[in-house]
């Protein structure tokens, strides 16, 4: 057995732990084709609470329990064109009441193809760049997500196949990890829309016999007064998942931000003949 192979075998348990530690995510959202249109600004407050978990995770170099963890993210997304948006996120974590600390910064570019319904499947792409605080983690990550969506009368079905690749730190040498998030929503009514979301993580691409994670979220979208509140209750489908997760996404549209509209709208005009 060569030295390299021996080192690899010795590293395997560490790799498995590493994947487990990073596989449990803090934020849950199935992205839809809809996104802020040109000139529109949208704010989203993400909150995830883990009331019950047997899992550990790494927080600023410390191994902590996910039990009692709460994670928050504030996002602003602006429509550059009707097809593309740019968003920034600030993520923070509070493990078991230890105090809220900013953990990551994230920049996201979204691009959608065509107009809605122009094709059988409405398709868009999401490119995320995650930069953690140095003390939190030294792994910067790229995330590529595809949004595939189709409406069947009042039902909307959405799939988000996703690839994540660490581009710095120790994990940079691994293949991308794969995820498939899916959602089905009953959209008959505006104010109340029940749905089901399924989050699946399959680990590193091409590596077999590694733990998979599957969580099922019954969700409820409540809309009114300009707000959209997406609530979900995460239930584990494998023993490697948190026992219970509660998520809430509060979305508020800040309207059109177009500097040119601040001038020359209504005015008095005089003509001398």
């Amino acid at each position: 057995m060569s030295g390299c192979m021996r080192k690899f075998l010795l590293l395997l348990p560490a790799l498995a732990f590493s994947l487990a530690a990073h596989a449990q995510r803090s934020f849950y959202r199935v992205y839809q084709y809809e996104q802020p249109l040109k000139g529109w600004l949208e704010a989203t407050l993400w909150t995830t609470v883990v009331p019950s978990s047997r899992l550990d995770y790494e927080h600023f170099g410390e191994g902590l329990s996910r039990n009692g963890l709460s994670a928050h993210s504030l996002e602003f997304e602006y429509g550059l064109t009707d097809q593309s948006t740019f968003g920034v996120y600030l993520n923070a974590e509070n493990p078991g009441g230890a105090g809220l600390q900013v953990s990551q910064f994230q920049a996201v570019y979204r691009y959608r193809l065509a107009r809605r319904y122009e094709h059988f499947i409405n398709t868009s792409f999401y490119l995320g760049y995650i930069v953690p605080r140095q003390r939190y983690d030294n792994t910067q990550e790229l995330e590529v997500r595809t949004v595939l969506e189709h409406d069947f009368n009042d039902l909307r079905v959405v799939l988000n196949p996703t690839l994540s690749k660490a581009i710095s730190g120790e994990e940079a040498r691994f293949w991308p990890t794969t995820r498939l998030d899916a959602g089905v929503y009953y959209r008959r009514f505006y104010h109340l829309q029940p749905g089901v979301e399924l989050y699946n993580e399959f680990g590193e691409l091409g590596v077999f016999r590694q733990p998979h994670y599957h969580q099922l979220f019954p969700t409820l979208d409540l809309r009114g007064f300009g707000f959209d509140l997406n609530l979900g209750l995460g239930l584990p489908l494998t023993s490697s998942d948190d026992r219970l997760v509660v998520k809430a996404l509060l979305v508020y549209s800040l309207g059109v931000v177009r500097p040119e509209l601040l001038f020359h709208r209504g005015q008095r005009s005089t003509a001398n003949q």
Binding site: L37, D82, D151, R187, L261, R268, A271, N272, Q273
Partner: protein, 357 residues
């Protein structure tokens, strides 16, 4: 205006063509009324006025059109053209008020200038009874009251505008001249040009939506366009501004948009100012109700429209469109005799595909 989810470059170009055709007709009026005519950009509008010979008009009285000659004391006809500064299209449905102030001061009471149907162009107009002289003409224009389709371009024309024209000459000889609406009979190709562009535009609209078409009935060419439901900018009385109501975008509560287009059959010009209703009947004969279709501003194809809820995508429905004869004044002794009746027209086998944009 710019490309948006509601308008491609090609479609916006159609709006410019409409504006150009309208502007040519407006120029005809300005040329024939000179020197009592002027054009001025104001806010997001382009506003022009003409003062010409007093005009008679047809107006609906009961079931028939009745000719109203100008009042004996009328000394001029004030015509006001309001176009969108972005694409030159005429803007219907505004509230326009005119105030004349003689050179020596002492403003006359403000006078309403209602929308009228002129042989060559869309305009607002009324006869005035003022002694000859020079005046300052103040025009108060309301915001465009209609709801708007476009999430980006729809947030325009939201503020009232005041335009003042100084040194407006009112000649003593106007009353003895022939009305411009009668002279216009010799230049109807200008109206026809607007109609040709309108045909092109509506053909593009019928092509763009899920289902569309038109048929002639009486003085009208009535069309329909059925597409996915969509959100609109609506005027919020409490906030005193237009807000974009996304209910439709974010649910399937309303899942189709039924639009109607109405043209004058002779020229093809778009007919604004109608009270129009639509009735949808399902494939099983079930009536899905009757709704009013208000006028809707659109970045390239004005129409009447309303969101709807239908049970299933892909079914074929019967669409019935009805309107009473319009109440606006029709100017021109010959060409003004139009729209004596309303219409009641049905379209069978209209395919409705559901969804919300």
């Amino acid at each position: 205006m710019v490309r948006s989810t509601e308008a491609t470059e090609v479609q916006l170009n159609l709006a410019h063509k409409q504006g150009y055709a309208e502007e040519r007709a407006e120029k005809w009026y300005l040329t024939h009324a000179a020197p009592a005519a002027h054009q001025q950009p104001a806010g997001e509008y382009i506003v022009a006025y003409t003062l010409s010979a007093p005009e008679g008009w047809y107006e609906l009285a009961g079931q028939a059109l009745v000719w109203h000659p100008p009042a004996p004391d009328a000394t001029a006809h004030l015509r006001v053209f309001v176009r969108d500064g972005a694409d030159d299209r005429p803007l219907p449905g505004l509230t326009v008020q005119a105030t004349f102030t003689p050179a020596g001061g002492g403003a006359r009471p403000a006078q309403a200038v209602p929308a009228g149907w002129y042989p060559l162009a869309s305009a607002y107009g009324t006869n005035v009874a003022l002694p000859p002289g020079r005046y300052q003409l103040r025009l108060d224009l309301s915001r465009l009251p209609f709801r708007r389709h476009d999430p980006y371009n729809g947030d325009r024309l939201t503020h009232p505008v005041v335009v003042e024209f100084d040194q407006v000459p009112l000649a003593a000889t106007l009353a003895a001249q022939p009305p411009l609406s009668d002279l216009a009979a010799a230049d109807t190709e200008l109206a026809q040009a607007q109609g040709d562009v309108e045909h092109q535009t509506l053909d593009a609209l019928y092509e763009d939506v899920n289902s569309g078409g038109a048929q002639r009935t009486g003085d009208y060419l009535v069309g329909f366009a059925v597409d996915y439901a969509l959100a609109t900018w609506n005027f919020d009385e409490k906030k005193n501004k237009f807000t974009y109501e996304i209910d439709t975008e974010e649910s399937a509560q309303l899942n189709a948009h039924v639009e109607a287009t109405v043209q004058e059959a002779r020229t093809g010009r778009f007919v604004p100012g109608l009270h129009l209703t639509a009735t949808l009947t399902g494939p099983d004969g079930r009536d899905l109700g009757t709704q009013e279709l208000p006028f809707e501003w659109h970045p390239w194809a004005f129409h009447y429209g309303q969101n709807w809820r239908v049970a299933r995508s892909g079914d074929r429905y019967r669409l019935r469109l009805r309107a009473e004869a319009p109440t606006f004044r029709r100017y021109g002794r010959t060409l003004g005799r139009v729209f004596e009746r309303g219409f009641d027209v049905g379209f069978d086998s209209v395919r409705v595909v559901t969804g919300a944009k």
